[in-house]
């Protein structure tokens, strides 16, 4: 059954995006061109007309798909049911152990099985390997096992993950880089800000890599929370990073990230506020889903 959240998302996105677009054009100092003015007028009228339907509707439940009858028992490790569960475990791993110099990616699922559980929901047992993207192709693969429980509730709730990775504690080689990065950006005059990392051509400077990784780790909190058996999330871009005033000796960063969900092919935008320090790791303090106008124009990057 498609996540109720998702279907609401799709229906609401086209309406509220217009409101956001209006708000942003009001606050921008750009000269508004004729098409923009037309868009604004159209949006205002359309918004007025559709305001009645704006509240999250009680959608008729979507019919069950073949996905719902996904297999239980032993799973093909390379196919989507096992892979989605493994990705969820990866998101969990990154929230716990990710840093500006460490982001884990799935290398391979070795074994997987699933069973329905009494309280309602499905539990996946996984045996898989991960690599650290920051260490490039030279890095070793870590072996992990995880239990991932997807609950079956009326409203979406986050999956539950129990994870064990061998030798995790032994790979603490990034302490120096973390410390240097922290010292460089914790002073009050540090005010990092950037957009579109990587750019359309996949370019990302050396300097931006740790920020991209931090965004990826912070986004993992959201991806973990939003995941279900019917989603498969990746972060496709750090749309922006804006350093905020440091607080309690934590680097404070406001990110806007673009997430891609494979089954629906949707691009989802989230704004989030995260803190990081070598001691405390990444914490996500605020998240805000941002509608993406499917038909609006935006300045080319």
């Amino acid at each position: 059954m498609l996540c109720a959240h998702w279907s609401r998302l799709r229906r609401v996105s086209s309406r509220s995006c217009c409101a956001t677009a209006l708000r942003s054009t009001h606050s921008s100092t750009r000269l508004s061109s004729s098409p923009e003015r037309i868009m604004k007028t159209f949006c205002s009228v359309w918004l007025l007309l559709s305001v009645v339907e704006l509240s999250p509707a009680q959608e008729p439940p979507l019919p069950e798909t073949a996905e719902d009858m996904a297999s239980t028992g032993d799973l093909e490790p390379t196919h989507y049911p096992a892979r989605r569960a493994a990705q969820v475990a990866l998101h969990y791993l990154n929230t716990r152990h990710g840093s500006p110099f460490r982001v884990f990616g799935l290398q391979q699922v070795h074994k997987a099985s699933a069973e329905d559980v009494e309280a309602g929901g499905r539990k996946y047992k996984l045996d898989f390997s991960v690599t650290d993207w920051a260490s490039g192709s030279a890095g070793p693969a870590l072996r992990c096992s995880a239990d991932v429980l997807f609950p079956r509730t009326e409203r979406h709730s986050a999956p539950d993950v129990k994870l064990r990775c061998e030798a995790l504690q032994q790979i603490n080689r990034t302490v120096q880089e973390e410390e240097a990065f922290y010292q460089k950006h914790i002073p009050p005059d540090s005010a990092v800000s950037a957009r579109d990392i990587p750019d359309s051509y996949g370019n990302m400077s050396e300097e931006m890599q740790p920020f991209w990784r931090l965004a990826r780790v912070a986004a993992s909190f959201i991806m973990l929370r939003e995941s279900s058996e019917n989603t498969e999330f990746n972060m496709v871009q750090m749309a922006s990073v804006t350093q905020q005033e440091s607080s309690e000796e934590q680097l404070m960063l406001e990110f806007v990230v673009l997430l891609h969900d494979l089954p629906s092919q949707e691009i989802v935008q989230w704004k989030l506020l995260a803190s990081w320090s070598p001691d405390r790791g990444v914490r996500v303090l605020q998240t805000e889903w941002q509608p993406r106008c499917p038909h609006a124009t935006k300045p080319p990057n």
């Binding site: 073949a66 989507y80 359309s200």
Partner: protein
């Protein structure tokens, strides 16, 4: 007089060009205020120093571009006063040369497909001129066919590689989902590969002596143009939907077999919107018409990204395809060939079991038309960069994908039906 001026200008141009050969950029980390004061006393003008970050506070590094002729003196000075530093840029001229090369690449228009830059992403204009150049350079082998027009009136072009008439054909399409930039980039490389290898590689030569290859580099040019001008993440066509403010139809949900099922969306705002009716999109209709009128296509390969998968029908039903066993085994072989080059791991299987249920997809229709070897490729990567695959992966991706394409084409050639 004028001649003298010209000569002088030429002289200056040739001999006056500044060079930074041997210059270095040093990063100096002063340890206390005294050292900062010392640095400030360095005679900038005499030494020709150019501060990228001038000495100010102890906590901030000092970055300075030191010309070659002053390097010795500066290093002696720093060593004498025990001021720590390290070399940030070993040779400034090298850096400038690299940059110049990059700039020239993008500034000049390639005059031939040998000049063309395969290691970067191109826009529509550039791709169109590539196609025209390739045809002009290889007119015995390659021609360009227009199979239709996009919604916004752009030409839907297919390159036909042919060495004789009335041959059965192999079809490869790319860029049907516009944000999947790696696919047209890879196709450009493949097009060049075909003309280079014909007459040299015995397997390809044999294939082309018996089959035509049809290569559509950009199946969705409207969407592609939009990814350059407005939204890099655009997937669909650009046809408006009446009664909705949302534009576009998913061209890989618009096909007849399984049309309108739950593996597609009926919401025009959705990325997987199937469209108002079967083959409603001109981009799709053009291919449908071509396939039907050709009547003798024997392999149909639709290239997408990302996920690193090789998929065969069906997407709309879990009922196995009649030829599942053969398709599965051929996929295994093609993936193994692909992996042999750069160790890129691919998954393979039917669409519905491997990636997700998808209704109204291209290869379900082509398979039902009788084109047995119908496959969808999902190229690099598996989500790290996703659609924004770095340009330095274009050629490795194209190279490995080519091995898989060859495996399928070779099998098709050796198993006529």
């Amino acid at each position: 007089m004028r001649g003298l001026l010209v000569l002088t200008a030429l002289f200056v141009a040739v001999f006056g060009k500044v060079t930074f050969e041997g210059d270095q950029v040093l990063r100096i980390t002063a340890q206390d205020a005294e050292q900062i004061a010392l640095l400030k006393e360095l005679p900038e003008e005499i030494l020709g120093l150019d501060y990228w970050m001038p000495p100010s506070r102890v906590s901030l590094p000092v970055d300075v571009h030191v010309p070659f002729h002053s390097l010795q003196a500066v290093r002696v000075f720093l060593a004498y006063h025990q001021i720590p530093y390290h070399v940030m840029i070993e040779n400034v001229q090298d850096l400038l040369d690299d940059e110049e090369r990059e700039m020239v690449k993008y500034r000049s228009f390639p005059r031939s497909t040998d000049d063309f830059v395969y290691t970067t992403y191109h826009d529509l204009n550039s791709i169109n001129s590539f196609m025209d150049m390739l045809v002009a350079e290889n007119s015995n082998l390659v021609s360009k066919i227009e199979i239709g027009k996009s919604y916004e009136g752009r030409s839907l072009d297919v390159l036909k590689f042919s060495t004789g008439a009335n041959r059965p054909g192999i079809w490869i399409d790319n860029g049907i989902h516009s944000r999947e930039w790696i696919t047209p980039a890879s196709a450009i490389w493949s097009a060049k590969k075909i003309v280079t290898d014909y007459g040299r590689d015995p397997v390809l030569t044999d294939i082309l002596n018996n089959y035509d290859i049809f290569l559509e580099i950009i199946a969705n040019p409207d969407g592609f143009a939009y990814t350059h001008s407005n939204d890099r993440m655009w997937r669909k066509t650009r046809k408006p939907n009446p009664g909705s403010s949302c534009v576009g139809v998913d061209p890989n949900r618009n096909w007849e077999v399984g049309f309108g099922g739950s593996g597609a969306s009926s919401n025009p705002c959705s990325q997987t919107y199937h469209g108002p009716s079967v083959h409603s999109e001109p981009e799709v209709k053009a291919i449908v018409d071509f396939v039907k009128s050709h009547g003798k296509l024997k392999a149909f390969l639709s290239i997408h990204s990302y996920s690193q998968m090789l998929l065969y029908p069906y997407g709309y039903t879990s009922t196995p395809a009649k030829d599942q066993a053969e398709l599965h085994e051929l996929a295994r072989k093609a993936v193994s060939e692909l992996q042999s080059l750069h160790n890129t791991a691919y998954t393979y299987g039917s669409v519905i079991t491997t990636i997700y249920q998808a209704d109204g997809i291209t290869i379900d229709w082509t398979y039902e038309q009788g084109i047995k070897y119908s496959y969808t490729f999902e190229l690099r990567d598996t989500g790290r960069y996703g659609f924004l695959l770095p340009a330095n992966q274009i050629v490795p991706t194209a190279e490995e994908t080519w091995l898989a394409l060859m495996a399928i084409m070779e099998h098709t050639r050796n198993n006529p039906y």
